[in-house]
Each structure stands twice: as structure tokens, then as C-alpha cells.
Symmetry: C2
Subunit: 153 residues, 2 copies
Amino acid sequence: MEERRDDCVLELERALDARGLRQTMPRRTILGVLAGMDRPFTSTELTEHVAKVDPRIGRASVYRLLQLLRGCGLVERLHGPATEAYVLCLLRDHHHHATCSVCGRAETFTLEDSASIERAVERIGYTMEHHVLEVVGVCPACRAAGHGAEVPQ
Amino acid sequence: MEERRDDCVLELERALDARGLRQTMPRRTILGVLAGMDRPFTSTELTEHVAKVDPRIGRASVYRLLQLLRGCGLVERLHGPATEAYVLCLLRDHHHHATCSVCGRAETFTLEDSASIERAVERIGYTMEHHVLEVVGVCPACRAAGHGAEVPQ
DNA sequence: GTTTTTGCAAACCATTTGCAGGGTC
DNA sequence: GACCCTGCAAATGGTTTGCAAAAAC
């Protein structure tokens, strides 16, 4: 678990490196916090967690890094029906996010074939360039715990 | 075209009526402007257009009505890659929006079969409850006009 | 030593809200 | 006449920016 988090930080640091961005203490701290997030988070949550680790780090630095990472595609923004959050995603290729309506954790998935979407779009005469897909559902753990899905009515 | 707009206003007024909401001059004006929007719009665009028709109407009323209509599902919010806008949509059932990257106009479409999405979601063990899909592409008119798509490479 | 980053505070922008007066049912 | 709606102006909340000092390369 902890290695997972460290790997994550390493990967993020590598990404900064690759862009010629500097390795600084505030950035390392923020990346560490980011890597420890186990679900989509708001900017406020992130800044609060960062402040808990090191109160000297300002909001602005958090936002600036968040923006850099969004530029690299390492952080994305989710806007579900009631969701408005950022997610860390190390998966580099095109993917989507499924958020659990019970525990709030998110998982990425890929559509192995977007043909049915493309067909639907062609039906109105459009040529598809990009698509954004977000899913809300119940994750395996929460379902096993009896939440969601098979509730009688 | 003009009838289309009037029909649109009528439908919106009926929706307000159905919720026991009052028919007022500012609301009628805003609905008229809304019905005339031929593409997704920002709140600023909307308030500016409204102000042009009747400068006495305040921003707050526009926002309040926008919110009511969102509650009725008559206005939705689009958040594409570079998009952050509202759309008027009279289509009552579940649907999606395709926005043209050339002219900016949007069209609704429906997925006649979301099985491939459901399958992809099941692959990660999730049970799907809702999905949000947004498409960006080129509309038939713009493609015919030579924009997008068949540009060599 | 040069260039990038940082923290701070102020600026911003879209949106919401409190309130007293005015319009609608 | 009761209650809803309005405009206004002020409050809000998230995010960005200008700047001089500090840190990284």
C-alpha cells in the first residue's frame, strides 16, 4: 500500500521532470498528499490535507500544481450530477471514471469499443472527435457489503 | 423558425405552470431569450442578451430562473474539455449532447443501446446507476462546408 | 547567476443570498 | 390580501494573479 503510494509519487515526479519543471519541497509534499488520496477530492480537501502536513504551503501553490498536472493529464476533473471534484489518474491512455455512489471511490475503465456511441452520433449526422463518459454506480466492495443494487425495491 | 421559438416559450411556460410557479414579465422575457439561443451559452451571454431586451431585469432573476429550469431538466449544464455552458433541452427522456467543434451548435442524441458501456463497467465489478456522456464533433452542416473530418491528415 | 517557484494578499468571476418593495394569483 | 418574485447590493467560494523574496538548477 505504502509502496503503491511511493510509486505514485515517483511517477508524478518523473512527469514534472519530463517537462523541465523543478523539484521543490512544496511540490513534493503536495504530490505526496495527492498520491495518498483514495478517492476524488475537492480543491478544499486537498489544500486542507496539505496544510495539515505543512502549514507553510499556500493555497496558490496547490492550485498551480493542480493545474500543471491537469495539463499533463495526470489529474482530471469530474463533474457528475452531484460531483465536482478532481481525480488523480496515472492511466495514460483514453479512459473513463466510474464513481461509487456509496463509498465515493472512483475506478477507471476503458470502453473497448465505442462503436455504439459512434453509431448514435452518426445517426444525427455528426462526426465524433472526442467523447467524455462518466459513470456513477456501486463498486464491488460496497455491493458485497449489501449496499445499492439488490435492495428490494 | 419563429414559430419554433414561440412553441419553445410555450413549452417552458407550461413547465413553470405545472410547478405552480408564477408567470411574470421578467420570466417571460428571459424565456424568450432562452428560446432564441441557437447553441449552448454561458450565464454571461444569457444575462447580456436579457439586458439588451430589458435592462431592468437583474442578473439574479436570470440565475434564479436558470436554476428552476435546471431543476425541471429543461436546462442542462455542459462541461466538455473546453466547454462550460448551459443548454436548453426540451427533450424529456434520457439523452446526450453532441457539440460541434466548428460552429458550436449542439444537438441531442440518444444511445439506443448502452450495453457496451454497461459491459465495460461490469468488467471492473461496478453496477451502473447513471452515466453522463458528452460528445464533441463536427455537425453535418460544417462538414458539408468543408470543415473538420476529411482534412488530409 | 539566472530562471523558476513560492507565499501572501488582493483581484476575479460566476453564482447565491438577504431584504424590502412590487407584482401575481 | 397572502405569498411569490424582483432588483439591488453585498456576501460567497473557488480559483487566479502580481509581486518581491527564496529556492532550484
